[in-house]
């Protein structure tokens, strides 16, 4: 069964890819086996993250971008496109309405496009738990480009930067006094800006404000505090006077009319070329691998500890912490340092 699925994925069979995505979403051992088998076949696709506040028109923009990449243009052959569209899971019911696909009607009927809607399933940070693995499946399945459209909560969108090669931040004029990107602290993660709904009042103002903020930003290495975590925006490797740092271009778009899309496409392709030329692609892959490994270790360690912890013992510890009889760090150490039988996976 697993071999069949793997063979199907590598042959680009959509049913196999779709089934495999479900398996990785539900995170069983079969999923891990599949991911292990395809890992050496990944690394070819260009991963483009698309993030921005709700109502910014991300889905419509992705729809237009996909169409354009499918058509190709002078100098850029047509490419196949995978799209992962993420919507939030309701914290009350655990269910979700996944409403991004509906905005991508134009893409229906094209076998070179694969759209998968995903619920965040409680994950914070704008992505779903299974996003990175799903990206790998589409990559192994032969898609040249994989778009990841985030939840768009605005505040915790940095995870996309760890998963994607190129991050497009979508802004819209008039959604408030400040530019959302600045408010949320995600200005730093943008490789490309799209000011969508540019036919609305305030579009030029939004562009100007972004330009100004970019001018203030130093191109050297710097750190950003975000949700009390330090995010290192490292120096651009290989930067010299001859290879200037990448300055995120700002493109005005009207996604509902398909305006400004060509410029955005060029910017995305240019960024990819820049990453390859400067060796940054390799660096970003390492970053991604490191971040993913950390997440996996965290998840796995937690799972193992909880799997071998008696429910009553856990409840008792929690009570002790709440009653201030025990501090949480000591409790954690207690659980982690349980006798070695706990770790016999």
């Amino acid at each position: 069964m697993t071999e069949e699925l793997v063979a199907g994925i590598l042959a680009g069979q959509r049913r196999a890819i779709a089934r495999a995505i479900t398996l990785v979403e539900n995170d069983g051992s079969e999923a891990q086996a599949i991911l292990a088998a395809i890992h050496s076949h990944t690394g070819r696709a260009h991963i483009v993250g698309v993030t921005g506040p709700p109502g910014s028109g991300k889905s419509t923009l992705v729809n237009d971008l996909a169409l354009s990449f499918r058509r190709g243009s002078a100098g850029h052959p047509p490419q196949t496109v995978g799209i992962i569209a993420i919507d939030p899971t309701s914290p009350f019911s655990g269910g979700a309405i996944l409403g991004d696909r509906i905005r991508m009607r134009d893409l229906a009927g094209d076998p070179g496009i694969f759209i998968r809607s995903m619920a965040s399933r409680g994950s914070l940070g704008g992505l779903a738990w299974a996003t990175a693995d799903t990206v790998r499946l589409l990559d192994a399945g032969g898609y040249d480009l994989v778009f990841v459209e985030t939840v768009g909560a605005g505040q915790a969108e940095v995870d996309i930067a760890k998963t994607a090669h190129t991050t497009v931040v979508v802004e819209v004029p008039g959604l408030g006094d400040d530019i959302q990107a600045i408010k949320a602290g995600i200005l730093e993660i943008a490789d490309v800006f799209a000011v969508n709904k540019a036919d609305h009042e305030g579009a030029d103002h939004a562009v100007q404000v972004l330009q100004m903020m970019l001018d203030l930003n130093s191109p050297g290495p710097h750190a950003v505090m975000h949700h009390s975590r330090l995010i290192e925006v490292a120096a651009i490797a290989g930067q010299t006077a001859d290879t200037p740092a990448w300055r995120p271009p700002i493109h005005k778009t009207v996604a509902t009319r398909g305006e400004g899309i060509d410029g955005l496409v060029e910017a995305i392709l240019a960024h990819r070329a820049y990453l390859e030329r400067t060796g940054n692609l390799v660096w970003r892959e390492r970053e991604r691998a490191a971040s993913e490994l950390e997440t996996i270790i965290q998840q796995e360690a937690l799972r193992r500890v909880l799997a071998h912890t008696d429910g009553k013992q856990l409840a008792a510890l929690i009570d002790q912490i709440a009653r201030r009889e025990l501090d949480p760090y000591a409790a954690g150490q207690l659980l982690l340092n349980q006798p070695s039988q706990a770790y016999r996976g």
Partner: protein
């Protein structure tokens, strides 16, 4: 941590644009903990089958009030089979006369839920069939 969710595609085939019921069902299924992909109106059978394939849904729900169900459903069901989605539960709602239900059952529609069906009946039916 991830856990298994029932994934449902809600689609409106044909020209009928009366989407009140489809939207209410989508919300009800979400509130019952399912993940619902709502395709919107004016869906061709090809679009529905393609979406069901890519989204690997457990259930396809078809909402139609225009009376064109006997013309459209057979094509949808056969495309689902062609795509290898034999084990997908297909249910329907809207304005579908009782006398058409046996024919729909025969062609593979697992349940027909007419006007006035309580939403938990639909939720329970889906859970019973899928889980």
């Amino acid at each position: 941590m991830p856990d298994k969710k029932i994934r449902v595609l809600i689609a409106k085939p044909g020209l009928d644009g009366h989407d009140r019921g489809a939207k209410v069902i989508a919300r009800a299924l979400r509130d019952a903990g399912m993940e619902v992909i709502y395709t919107g109106i004016r869906q061709t059978p090809e679009m529905i089958a393609e979406a069901a394939l890519q989204e690997d849904v457990d259930v396809v729900g078809l909402s139609i009030l225009s009376g064109a169900h006997l013309a459209l459903f057979p094509r949808i069901v056969s495309l689902l089979r062609e795509n290898g989605l034999d084990d997908v539960l297909v249910v329907a709602g809207g304005i579908i006369p009782d006398e058409d239900v046996p024919a729909l059952n025969d062609m593979g529609i697992g349940g027909v839920f007419g006007p006035g069906t309580p939403t938990d009946e639909i939720v329970d039916f889906i859970r019973g069939q899928v889980l």
